[in-house]
Symmetry: C2
Subunit: 394 residues, 2 copies
């Protein structure tokens, strides 16, 4: 077997576990069942595209975590997690997509073996990978246990990044810059979109010196013209056209860490309303970055952004950012803080966000964004270093 | 707004809806709430990477479906679905990842407006995108409604492909062939894995004549040597090495339709045990393809495969295939039939499967697979046409 190539030191994993256990203690949890793939990886190192079947990590207060999943994936687990092989457990393949058996019945047996029949076991009730049926099956298997909602318990521990994580994000950012540089060069009227996306992927996966490219948790998004009103359209084979703005929402990825960077490119001469929006957005970004300081709050960023946009008559309904770092599909956000008026989370050094004030209006759109790091002092640092503007090719 | 470029005719969507409604009637459902992104796209045409927030389609017995999601994503919905704009509904952004509000409270209000307060509303209880918390929130919002489990109700309607769908899969298959041809040429000892993956993506997204490449629902999987024991490892920056087999699990994708094709490449002189496994697997594939006929059962394929493998002393614990077609991450399988001994589903013309007898042993692995179409008569047709063997570069 190839030697395990853990992304982080054992000390770092122990620190993560300690923070998680401390919060479990606060909430009176005897155990925590973690299904979010990002949380599994952050706690144990587990890495593999196996989250399309039920799997997870059992976190215990006084023993190493247990990775549990499909039998065939235990082979991947023993090759990626820091725990001993005895902390990896598998279930038989005929639990997979069965109408008679549910994998949670197997998990329940493991939990019972651990003496947790009547325990308080936290679950990530609002995670993609913990279905309504999983909850029901687990409750039926262990009728005397209780399953308090611990959605985002681990995610919140991930908020402040270590130096090692920030180093990974700097590598991801270097890849993001390379991708944006490449697409700005290649997009021309008449070039099919998928041809540009092919090169985006090639650049992203080749990576940069010292950083091979991993797959980002979201695919490139690049709607044009009136379609740029829609934030989450992907691409097709139609050509780029003169007279249209296209926003490019991309992220480099290094060992599952992200640093998204979005820029907009206009082919031709942009109309005045877009130039005015660009100016207001650039001013809002500057203002937001300036208040993105330790001690300020998430809402301060949102409010600083909103002022110049409102003066320009642009009303945004959406939050303007979210924490980033380690992630698996379908989202590169961390799903804790939201940069919006109602979120009073205090910013701390080492927090990282995608400051993402996308404008998605009735029939146009514009994205200029930055991945940022809250510093000990002063305004936020941007991970990438590219002009904060709408690019134009006349 | 760009004209809507529906992948299929309105007639085809109406046919899909009719089949879905017929099954809803059988189960006595007044409505069905569909969260599986593949089912949403299959029923309505909706396409976008927005499934990281709660969204879905309300299927009604006597009125067009309603697409429901985040406000900003209604812009994508009106650009991709066949229904009128009045059948697209959005919820406010402060429902997103809120600890105070849940999007299902908004959905509940829409269902109540439809007069469904005391209805039987089917839900996809074991889908990735319908969380335990979503179920709880929906039940609390509509305490007098009941929510029977309708997991895979729509998926089962997708089993038999139309000619138009099969045409899409043939395009995906042509992309798969191109990707496999390219990687077999490029992989050499010393070449970093991510460099090969960069070209895999480039080939896949560039596509082939008449078929631009869409993103596959699973990223390339390509573990080497003893790591090939693990089915779901992705890649890193380490070089390919002499003396190792690497399996490549990939799929071309055309407008969300897949045709996976896996091949194994050995660098150097393969050991006898691998050659014996290859021979047994090739024989098993032939035997399986021969019984993959209309009127036979899913288990017949599994049993035909198992016999030569068992004679070679190879015991497989996993199912050997699943239906394929339209899909979104995290899985390109259709999650209905499983090709395994206990599944007696009768094969029908137009069904499509990934016949996927991966061998993942203690410290080695081998994948040679085919995407297949059940025909009116005779054995299955393979979508791709590449030698069914372990490739070797000495």
């Amino acid at each position: 077997m190839t030697a395990i190539d853990l992304p982080f030191s054992l000390d770092e994993y122990q620190g993560r576990l300690a923070r998680t256990r401390a919060e479990m203690a606060v909430r009176g949890l005897d155990a925590l069942f973690v299904t979010d793939p990002s949380n599994q990886a952050w706690l144990t190192g587990y890495d593999g595209w196996s989250f399309y079947v039920h799997q997870g990590v059992i976190v215990l207060p006084d023993a190493d975590p247990i990775w549990w999943g499909r039998n065939q994936d235990t082979n991947g687990a023993v090759r990626t997690v820091w725990m001993g092989n005895d902390r990896v457990r598998g279930y038989a393949d005929n639990f997979v997509q069965s109408t008679e058996r549910h994998p949670m019945q197997d998990l329940g047996r493991h939990l019972a073996d651990l003496g947790l029949q009547t325990a308080r076991i936290g679950v990530e009730a609002d995670n993609y990978y913990f279905s309504a049926k999983a909850m029901q099956s687990l409750q039926e298997t262990l009728p005397n246990a209780v399953f308090p909602d611990a959605t985002a318990l681990v995610n919140w521990q991930r908020g402040i990044k270590s130096d090692a994580e920030i180093a990974f994000m700097r590598k991801a950012a270097a890849i993001s810059e390379k991708v944006v540089d490449g697409l700005l060069e290649r997009v021309e009227p008449g070039v099919p979109k998928n041809e540009v996306v092919a090169e985006i992927y090639r650049d992203a996966i080749r990576g940069v010196d010292g950083a091979w490219g991993d797959y980002p948790a979201i695919v490139p998004l690049l709607p044009s013209g009136s379609d740029a009103a829609a934030p989450h359209l992907t691409w097709d084979g139609r050509p780029f056209a003169t007279g249209e703005a296209t926003f490019f929402e991309i992220s480099g990825c290094y060992r599952r860490y992200h640093a998204p960077l979005c820029r907009t490119l206009f082919l031709g001469d942009p109309p005045d309303f877009l130039k005015r929006a660009e100016a207001a957005l650039a001013e809002g970004l500057e203002a937001g970055l300036d208040v993105a300081r330790a001690g300020n709050r998430a809402c301060d960023i949102a409010n600083a952004l909103a002022a110049p946009l409102e003066r320009a008559g642009i009303e945004r309904g959406a939050r303007c950012g979210y924490p980033i770092g380690l992630s698996y599909p379908p989202d590169w956000g961390e799903r804790t803080v939201s940069l919006r008026a109602e979120d009073e989370t205090v910013l701390e050094p080492g927090m990282t966000f995608h400051f993402m004030p996308g404008l998605w209006m009735q029939d146009w759109g514009l994205e200029i964004t930055e991945s940022i790091l809250i510093r000990d002092e002063g305004p936020a640092e941007t991970f990438c270093n590219r002009p904060r503007k709408m690019f134009v090719k006349s």
